[in-house]
């Protein structure tokens, strides 16, 4: 049962207060997308052993979606940040690299 901090309302809450929404930073493929791109958008997901970016919803709180960077192996949470971004913020990358010096964001 994770403990997460909502970056909007600042509340640190029990996992039961939140709802997971799968992998973060997916790019939507809409009309005009190739079959492959559309398939990947709908179904292909990363399942890394280590650093992972996830979407979370503060369902029983302020109702906001946010992103969490965490380690699937150690359950370490490197940080949470707004969902209204297409890129991983610098301070999150720094926080990860301070604990995982070899880690690099995927291109």
């Amino acid at each position: 049962m994770l403990r997460l901090t909502c970056p909007y309302c600042g509340v640190t809450g029990e996992e039961t207060e939140f709802h997971p929404g799968g992998e973060a930073h997916l790019t939507r493929s809409g009309p005009g997308a190739t079959d492959e791109a559309f398939r990947d958008y709908l179904f292909q997901r990363r399942n890394p052993r280590g650093v992972h970016f996830e979407r979370w919803h503060h369902q029983y709180g302020c109702g906001k979606w946010f992103h969490a960077a965490r380690c699937t192996l150690t359950l370490e949470v490197f940080g949470t940040y707004t969902a209204q971004t297409a890129v991983i913020p610098e301070h999150i990358i720094d926080a990860i690299q301070s604990r995982r010096p070899d880690w690099r964001p995927e291109a």
Partner: protein
């Protein structure tokens, strides 16, 4: 025979007799007894039968590890099976019954299993029940049902109350023996908020039985001083009868508190809860859970009277009870000598100590010898003689094959195979173990703890739980754990000299996994590893020979460690036997996974208050009371309850439904539609947003107009539907299905926040803010006009229009929409006016013959019109085009959710299942819901399913049965006759027709 000795027993009060029943017989013990100690004190050594072979069994341990002495406690609504007699506190009126026997404990027919034990080897279930098939029904199942399983399931609802309780601590210390108390004290003195929990009613752990000198004081003096200091610290809370049950991610811990099980005057369901499930968040957890003694694997180690050595001296020290008058000690270590010494000092006979080691030269063996106890080195037990109780032991050389050297009469055996730290809580959340060769056990690896949100370890171990078994090592380990926990949280612990604890020094043990080392098959097949599941040394060896090399496979194949005790006593011995059989080492075999809870916890505590009406809160419309008082037959619809129909006296349900339909189509009916979802979408970009959410074009809707809209998922499948009303240029009201309001609102928010956050749009779910009533039928306008206040004429409010105003003085929005095909208005008023409007409609409508109608009439009328229902005609694989709703899918819009998917070849196949109407050849026959249409044969030679019935009713309007179905290529099969085999004899034939059965031109609604 077991008995109460004249003196001793620090936990019992000999002046307070307590009476209880065991298998219906009245027995007595003392206040402070456990059920196990009271039974032993009453001479009841036989406490149950084993699971598989129904062998007679007595108590083995004195605590939560007990595998044998399982009882059914209580009666009727308080009955609970599989309770350990060793942890059940005795109280007046306690009713206990032993388990796994028939017809009685001392005469049991299941014991025949034991005679057939060669036919019940490891993997018995997997092997035996393969064939023949017929034997399952007539032989295996009846026999297994009669004899298998541990306790009986309760037959009545649990009368007690339970609750959950949330707590927070800087440092949670689990276990209040010497180590837990000291660790809590160190953290508490440093200022940390400490919660110290202990599963038993008493603080002190093994100090209550085994004397240790601490800082030149007796352990009792140290205990009372330490407890007093802890109690005086305002930041420390101590809770007994509270077990640390499980450790989870990020310092989440469940605790199981038993509040009333020890009380004789507890009224079930009365004032307080019986159990409380604690849901604790702690920044650091110190597990001071001690260690468990291991049994030794010799033939007959399960005969009643064979017990763990420490348990035997616990019974003497704590309860003044002994398992027998003449106790043989068998050990591979020094600690068991404490039992010999304690028994001797209590005036009991210890005919011999059998020590597997070649030398025993420490202070404890010396004391034993000084007391005149015979010590035999290099010896073990070949076999225990006796059935329902120990009569003698045959001794042999540990190194040999079991030749009997001597038979020694005795009535109890104390065994000790060394101690294993209780690592469960450390391991639950991923703490790793190391094999300690010197002490022959797994202990926590402090370098690989479970990690928390910041990547730091959040569990520490203290004392014996770390592997620091000897008191002299336990104390400094506990001090270090308590101080480290505090320091890691930013507190400043004291650096004063730690207390020193002194106990007799101990020589190393000798690992002994089988006794004797070269035991024959005959001996091995009577040497039990797992007492509760009847797994013997020979079973684990067989599993290894048959290729079950992984410890997880061997566990499941043999059932080793799978009973309610989860292998607390058997695991290490089983692993050792497996490792030996595979020719490898114990650390290479590894352990099975430790899973919470530590010991079984009641189902009631898990449910907490979430039972009966509180299990799932019921949503009620503002008119709920009226419905309830007027014959409503309730139907659950999502979280709501809605009237299915309103039953009048003497009416059958279907008659009531037909009456409601006829009256609505002939006069006027009213429907409580308050449960419909209502979501307001507002903002400069609201129209643009709804164009993305709906398949239809919503931006072209004029203010004051309504449009039926569809929503798809990104997969292109229908997800929800409803009427969208444009209230103003920048404000829409989106109606959803009754079950879909929360889902659709969440869906809109998700897209707004995570994909289209640049849009300036706000949403609000106002479902419960409005009551909504559908007024339906030819006299609907007449009825509403009689209320006065709004122009609801054909010209004043045209079909698919919306008007706002006051109806009979109530602020209202009126939508001219129809789900029945009749002239129809849906009136939305603030929820607090819902009942008032309903009453006015019933009053003004009385002369017109108004009747309320329920959800079934609604369903039949919409089916008569061929309107689809989300969840009936859709199942998550159905597109708008499959339902002939392509007209509601915009071709002009560049994008909407699902647009890309609807271009996929599979979604535009002409032979997809498509919506059709069905007219049964016999108009009186109603197709069963879900019936399959078949044609031709499938790849296996059976009939091929080409579709299924999605909605089916008897239509009183048309006086015939009607149905809708999804049929492969249905759109082009008009007029075909399909076959629906509904059972082995009956085939229903139905013709494919237009799904609009009634008023195809739609004239009735537009008047």
């Amino acid at each position: 025979m077991s008995t109460r000795i004249k003196s001793g027993g620090r936990l019992i009060d000999r002046t307070r007799k307590v009476s209880f029943t065991f298998n219906g017989s009245r027995l007595s013990g003392f206040s402070g007894d456990t059920l196990a100690s009271a039974l032993l004190g009453s001479g009841q050594t036989l406490m149950g039968r084993s699971f598989k072979y129904h062998r007679p069994r007595g108590v083995v341990g004195a605590g939560s590890e007990e595998p044998n002495a399982l009882m059914g406690l209580g009666q009727g609504p308080t009955f609970e099976p599989n309770q350990r007699a060793t942890t059940a506190e005795l109280h007046d009126g306690l009713q206990a019954e032993s388990q796994n026997h028939w017809p009685s404990l001392s005469i049991d027919v299941g014991v025949v299993n034991a005679a057939l034990s060669r036919f019940f080897p490891a993997g018995f279930y997997y092997k035996t029940f393969m064939a023949p098939r017929a034997a399952w029904k007539h032989v295996f199942e009846p026999v297994i049902r009669k004899t298998a399983g541990l306790g009986k399931a309760p037959t009545e609802a649990d009368a007690d109350r339970y609750e959950h309780f949330y707590a927070y601590a800087d440092v949670l210390v689990i276990g209040a023996g010497m180590a837990g108390l000291q660790a809590a004290l160190e953290a508490g003195r440093a200022g940390a908020r400490v919660l110290l929990v202990e599963q038993t009613p008493h603080l002190g752990g093994r100090l209550l039985s085994d004397e240790v000198e601490i800082d030149e004081e007796t352990s009792d003096a140290w205990l009372s001083r330490t407890i007093a200091e802890l109690q005086a610290l305002p930041n420390v809370e101590i809770r007994t009868r509270l077990m640390g049950a499980g450790v989870y991610d990020h310092g989440y811990v469940t605790g199981y508190e038993r509040l009333t099980d020890h009380m004789s005057d507890h009224m079930p369901g009365g004032e307080g809860p019986r159990h409380r499930l604690w849901r604790i968040r702690a920044d650091r957890i110190v597990t001071a859970t001690g260690a468990m003694e291991r049994p030794l694997a010799f033939a007959g180690n399960d005969v009643p009277g064979v017990m763990l050595a420490a348990a035997l001296r616990d019974y003497v020290a704590l309860y003044g009870v002994t398992a027998g008058d003449r106790t043989v000690i068998v050990t591979n270590n020094d600690d068991a000598y404490r039992t010999a010494i304690a028994l001797k000092r209590a005036g009991l006979e210890v005919p011999v100590i059998l020590d597997t080691r070649d030398a025993a030269i420490g202070p404890l063996p010396r004391q034993a010898r000084d007391l005149g106890i015979r010590v035999e080195l290099g010896k073990g037990i070949a076999t225990v003689k006796g059935g329902k109780k120990v009569e003698a032991v045959e001794i042999c050389s540990q190194a040999g094959e079991g030749s009997v050297l001597e038979t020694i009469p005795c009535d109890a055996v104390a065994m000790s195979g060394g101690w294993s730290p209780v690592v469960h809580l450390w391991s639950h959340c991923g703490g790793k173990l190391v094999w300690d060769t010197d002490q022959s056990h797994f202990r926590p690896d402090p370098d690989r703890p479970p990690t928390g949100h910041d990547g730091a370890g959040f569990v520490l171990t203290a004392g014996a739980a770390s592997g620091a078994l000897h008191a002299a090592d336990t104390m400094p380990d506990a001090v270090a754990a308590g101080r480290r926990a505090a320091r890691e949280l930013g507190f400043t612990p004291s650096d004063t000299t730690a207390p020193t604890a002194n106990a007799e020094a101990e020589e190393p043990l000798q690992p002994v996994w089988m006794m004797p080392a070269g035991a024959s098959y005959k001996l091995r097949s009577k040497a039990f590893l797992d007492f509760q599941n009847d797994v013997k040394v020979s079973d684990v060896q067989l599993a290894a020979r048959e290729g079950f090399e992984s410890v997880e496979h061997a566990k499941r194949y043999t059932t080793l460690g799978m009973a309610t005790d989860q292998g607390k006593l058997s695991n290490i011995n089983g692993l050792a036997v497996l490792a030996d059989s595979l020719g490898t080492t114990i650390p290479q075999v590894g352990t099975t996974t430790f899973r919470p809870p530590y010991t079984p916890i009641s189902m009631g505590s898990i449910a907490g208050a979430a039972r009966g009406p509180l299990f799932k809160p019921l949503r009620k419309s503002p008119m709920d009371d009226w419905h309830d008082a007027n014959g409503a037959v309730w139907e659950p619809v999502a979280d709501w309850r809605r009237p299915y129909t309103y039953l009048r006296e003497g009416e059958a349900q279907h008659e009531a439904v037909h009456r409601e339909i006829r009256n609505t189509r002939g006069n006027v009916g009213v429907l409580d539609a308050s449960t419909l979802g209502k979501i307001v979408v507002q903002g400069p970009d609201a129209a643009k947003f709804l164009d993305l959410i709906y398949t239809n074009m919503m931006s072209s809707l004029k203010p004051g107009r309504c449009r039926y809209g569809l929503m798809c998922t990104e997969n292109g499948f229908l997800f929800d539907d409803g009427v969208v009303v444009r209230l103003a240029e920048d404000k829409f009201l989106c109606h959803t299905t009754s079950g879909g309001s929360d889902r659709v609102h969440a869906w809109m928010e998700e897209w707004l926040q995570t994909e289209w956050w640049a849009l300036d749009v706000y949403t609000a779910n106002v479902t419960e803010q409005y009551a909504q009533i559908a007024v339906v039928g030819p006299k609907a306008r007449q009825l509403l006009e009689s209320l006065g206040g709004m122009d609801l004429s054909r010209e004043g409010l045209s079909f698919m229009g919306m008007a706002e105003g006051d109806l009979a003085g109530i602020p209202a929005r009126v939508f001219r929409i129809s789900f029945s095909g009749e002239l129809s208005y849906e009136v939305a008023v603030p929820a607090c006016y819902g009942r008032a409007l309903w009453d006015l409609l019933m009053q003004h409508g009385a002369p017109l013959g108004v009747m309320p109608y329920g959800t079934e009439a609604l369903h039949v009328m919409r089916a008569e019109k061929g309107f689809i229902m989300i969840g009936d005609e859709t199942d998550g694989t159905v597109t708008p085009h499959d339902l002939a709703l392509g007209w509601a899918v915009s071709k002009k819009k560049q994008d909407f959710i699902g647009k890309r998917a609807l271009e996929r070849p599979d979604l535009i196949r002409p032979d997809r299942k498509q919506l059709v109407g069905l007219a049964t050849q016999d108009p009186a026959t109603v197709l069963p819901d879900g019936a399959h249409a078949v044609a031709g044969s499938n790849e296996y030679g059976g009939p091929k399913t080409i579709g299924h019935v999605t909605s089916t009713y008897y239509s009183p309007t048309l006086d015939r049965s009607i149905a809708m179905a999804l049929i492969e290529g249905g759109a082009n099969r008009m007029g075909e006759v399909l076959e629906f085999p509904v059972d082995s004899q009956t085939v229903i034939r139905a013709t494919i027709v237009d799904p609009v059965f009634y008023d195809k031109a739609g004239e009735r609604q537009d008047v």
